[in-house]
Amino acid sequence: MIKRRSNVCVRLLVGLTFTALLSACTSAPQSAALRQQTPPEFTAPVLLRQVPFYPQELYQCGPAALATLLGASGVQVTPEQLVPLVYVPEREGSFQVEMVATTRSHGRLAYRIAPTLDALLSEVVAGHPVLVLQNLALDIYPRWHFAVVKGFDLERRKLILNSGLYEDYEISTAVFERTWARADHWGVLALVPGSMPAQPEAAPYFSALAAIEQDIAPALVNRAYVSGLQAWPTDRNLLMGYGNRLYAEKYAAAAAIQFGKVIAHYPDYAPAHNNLANVLFEQGQQERALLHAQEAVRLGGDYLENYRETLHMIDPGAE
């Protein structure tokens, strides 16, 4: 019986090793590409010296890495202060979603970068350290770990991280890529509201901004919208979100102009017609309000019931 069990163990181990050997020999395509042709902006080594270092306590790489990220963005906070917000005792670790939520609750946009080494390195060049999740072991035997990428030296094929117990930990780009790929290439920046990522993309920017709206001062939210709209002047969600901000802050005239912009770019977007109808109605512009309310109902969609309410408010006799 014991013999049979140990046989099974041996087979398992051999299989595991074999699988891992295969994956070791393959699967670092991005670092291979970077090695073959290093883009000019990545040829010089970079090390962000303003990034603080907090050696992690047992299992607590989450609080340590988050304090590191926030510290670099100008928020002084210790890992001990973050433990009650991100550490999950029975799981001996931290969830990504709470790392992101706690970044927000400290006044920073949690921006998820594109899943590429190129995006990661671009952010480091721009002075943004990147919080990353790695699976240091294997898919079948995961060991999840948070660290902060703060530099690189591609000539020596190294990335530089503050990770666990080590400051300026050097890891080969290929090994990093493999451990990062196993964690779905998850990387997050802590952005001061109003500042932009080095490689900005509208969708993750809007989702980071929408999520933090309730947590920070209105002036900061507005600043972040203005920056976003400078980068993507016709992004529907940003245009619309900014209109809603203006409306919430009682700048009715400005909000009406903003919703008008949304409609100019996206005439079939019913929520913009509905919101514009509300603003115009408040401003006493009954006729224009009615037109937009009717248009929203005609276009229909997910919020049809809201559009109908708007229409009834403006014209109680409307069907």
Binding site: L21, V88, P89, G93, V97, G164, E305
Partner: protein, 128 residues
């Protein structure tokens, strides 16, 4: 137990009778769906959405408490999450990665990871 025997139980019999009576009196719906009906559906949908997020909130809260998060921190932590985050992680927490560290690996597996670290597949022991 046979159905005929079941029916002899007073409670079951009563339920069956009540159900068939309800069937007889149910109005026959045909033709158009009027506006009040649509409005009711829409309002029910909105209520369901509310219920869903309340359930998500409760579910995530219970799971986190079960994971040893202290009762004094739980409200802050739940409130830090957006509605859509709560809905995304509801019933998922058990499967989600929790970034901790590599310590606590079973002894028998250590050797394999030493080897894999040397090969550059893994990075369980950072100083290798």
């Amino acid at each position: 137990m046979k159905i005929s025997k079941l029916l002899r139980k007073p409670a079951v019999f009563a339920v069956v009778v009540a159900l068939s009576a309800a069937g007889i009196h149910a109005p026959v719906m045909a033709g158009t769906i009027d506006t009040p009906e649509i409005a009711m559906q829409a309002e029910l949908q909105m209520q369901r959405d509310d219920v869903r997020s309340i359930m998500a909130r409760a579910d995530v809260r219970d799971t986190m408490l079960g994971y040893g998060v202290s009762a004094s921190d739980i409200d802050t932590r739940i409130n830090n999450l957006t509605e859509s985050e709560l809905l995304q992680i509801q019933n998922q927490l058990a499967q989600l990665p929790a970034g901790g560290s590599a310590v606590g690996i079973v002894l028998g597996i250590i050797l394999i990871f030493v080897l894999l670290d040397v090969l550059g597949a893994t990075d369980v022991f950072p100083r290798i």
